[in-house]
Amino acid sequence: MSEILVADRLSKHFGGLIAVNKVNFSIMADEVTGIIGPNGSGKTTLFNLISGFFPPTEGRITFFDNEITHIPPYERVIKGIVRTFQLVSVFNSMTVWENLVLSSIRFKEKHVSLRKFFFSSAKDKEIKENCLRALKLVGLQSNAQALTSELSYGSKRMLEIGIALSLNPKLLLLDEPLAGLSDGEISEVIDLLKQIKKNFTLVIIEHKISKIINLVDRLCVMNEGSFICEGNPDDALCNPVVRECYWGKREIS
């Protein structure tokens, strides 16, 4: 197994606040990595650094042995690093299908080509198949023509993951994909993640560990900007430092 992404002494300071503190970590190909940690421990900030939304205060990031520390977010997507957001990000004023077409227009080419001026020219066969594949995976076929703003939050989350998948990522970062969902929706998303883990390398941030414990191959625990422990999920859970930091005196549910 090889490392696809390596973060080296990665830090992010917001004024005096150290949100991410000299983190060293790597992501292995075809693995599912879980990141847990209390609110404010720096999980989302770490994603923002990897996806390029914030420049790091120090440290460097390499992806497939190429340094990407300073390239803009959209170029990282082109290189294969795709993310979702803690608060769902979809295009509400378009239909579900249009959302997927928009994410697929770059499917064949590196950059959006202005030669394909008309949106309808995106009805090209390969693009259509790419959209359809994503649509089926996330189970929104019957909503294809619905306006995205009319979907439930759970369906929007599914669509967001579908959009991410249609970009054919080499590394997919999911920021609390289960947050704000009903129990039924949570099991749908988990089923989807179980299905896609065969084909994609995933990193999942989650607040409630019990939900993802059966999904991840490796668990990292963050606290106050640092990784306090990482390893196979069972070991991480038994680690006394983790127990104290994360659960305090409470028992594991």
Binding site: S51, F53, P72, P73, Y74, E75, V77, I78, V82, R83, F85, S89, V90, F91, N92, S93, M94, E98, L102, S103, I105, R106, H111, V112, L114, K116, F117, F118, F119, S120, S121, A122, I163, A164, L167
Partner: protein, 277 residues
């Protein structure tokens, strides 16, 4: 009364041309762009340079003015506005207001502070409903409606249009598709500036041309954008004509109050609409 309605349509058309850029810039980039006044004013001064000083024909001057504003707008976006993305709104407001004031001084320095008159380039009248309407103004209203239809088609049918619509919803989401959204912000900005100049060109012969002309109309356009909804293209169109009509009607009965009325309408809208800024 017919004339009042027609007058309202004329004002609505002008407000519409100038407001589109403001609305799109705010909707996509979250920048309150006071510098919009300056691209608008400079465009008009370029027009009169060709028409008054070089004595070229009005349409040629108009096309050249619009072409000339494209690189100017690009430079303003690239080196000033782009640095303001993500900053707080009041900060963008102050910074672009500074640009507007610098622009006003630049205009005084190049063209002088005195106003220039420009005459109606067509000068013929159309008799409709017993009133004679200047053909120039009829053209202006028709152009605004045509522009609305064209923009609607552009945003509905083209990939670039869809990317801009998506950026109005969520610009980080567009970045996450591997699309260089900043490039499209430049495009939106340049397009908005060119349309403002088009508005200025239409407006110049029926108003006076002076260095502060942009500042005066910009406040009205802000009202249009606020009433129509920031980044809402259809809303901008409807609110431009509604407020234009309101101005014309008020002016008929209470000439001094025409502009005040626009801001009263804006305040009323702000009070009754949930804040979504």
């Amino acid at each position: 009364m017919h004339y009042t309605i027609f007058y309202g349509l004329t004002i609505g058309a002008i407000l519409y041309f100038i407001s589109i850029g403001l609305s799109l810039t705010f909707g996509t980039m979250r920048v309150i762009n006071f510098a919009h006044t300056i691209t608008y004013t400079i465009g008009v001064y370029i027009l009169i340079t060709f028409v008054i000083f070089f004595k070229w024909s009005f349409p040629v001057g108009a096309v050249l003015a619009i072409l000339a504003i494209i690189p100017i707008a690009y430079v303003i976006e690239r080196f000033i506005i782009r640095r303001l993305y993500g900053d707080s709104l009041d900060y963008t407001f102050i910074a672009t207001f500074a640009v507007a004031l610098i622009g006003v001084d630049l205009i005084k320095w190049i063209w002088g502070p005195a106003p220039y008159p420009l005459s109606d380039p067509i000068g013929k009248y159309l008799i409709l409903f017993d009133v004679s309407l200047p053909i120039y103004r009829v053209l202006m209203v028709i152009s605004a409606i045509l522009l609305f239809i064209l923009l609607h088609l552009f945003f509905k049918m083209t990939i670039v249009g869809k990317i801009i619509i998506a950026a109005l919803d969520d610009k980080d989401g567009v970045r996450c598709l591997g699309i260089n959204v900043d490039k499209y912000f430049s495009l939106v900005f340049v397009m908005g500036s060119a349309l403002a100049v088009l508005g200025g060109i239409f407006y110049a012969p029926i108003s006076s041309i002076h260095p502060y002309m942009g500042l005066a109309i910009l406040l009205l356009c802000f009202a249009v954008v606020i009433v129509g909804g920031m980044g809402n293209l259809k809303g901008t169109f409807l609110s431009a004509f509604a407020l234009g009509m309101l101005m014309a009607l008020t002016a008929r009965y209470w000439p001094q109050g025409a502009e005040t009325m626009v801001f009263i309408a804006m305040a009323v809208v702000l009070i009754f609409r949930p804040i979504d800024i």
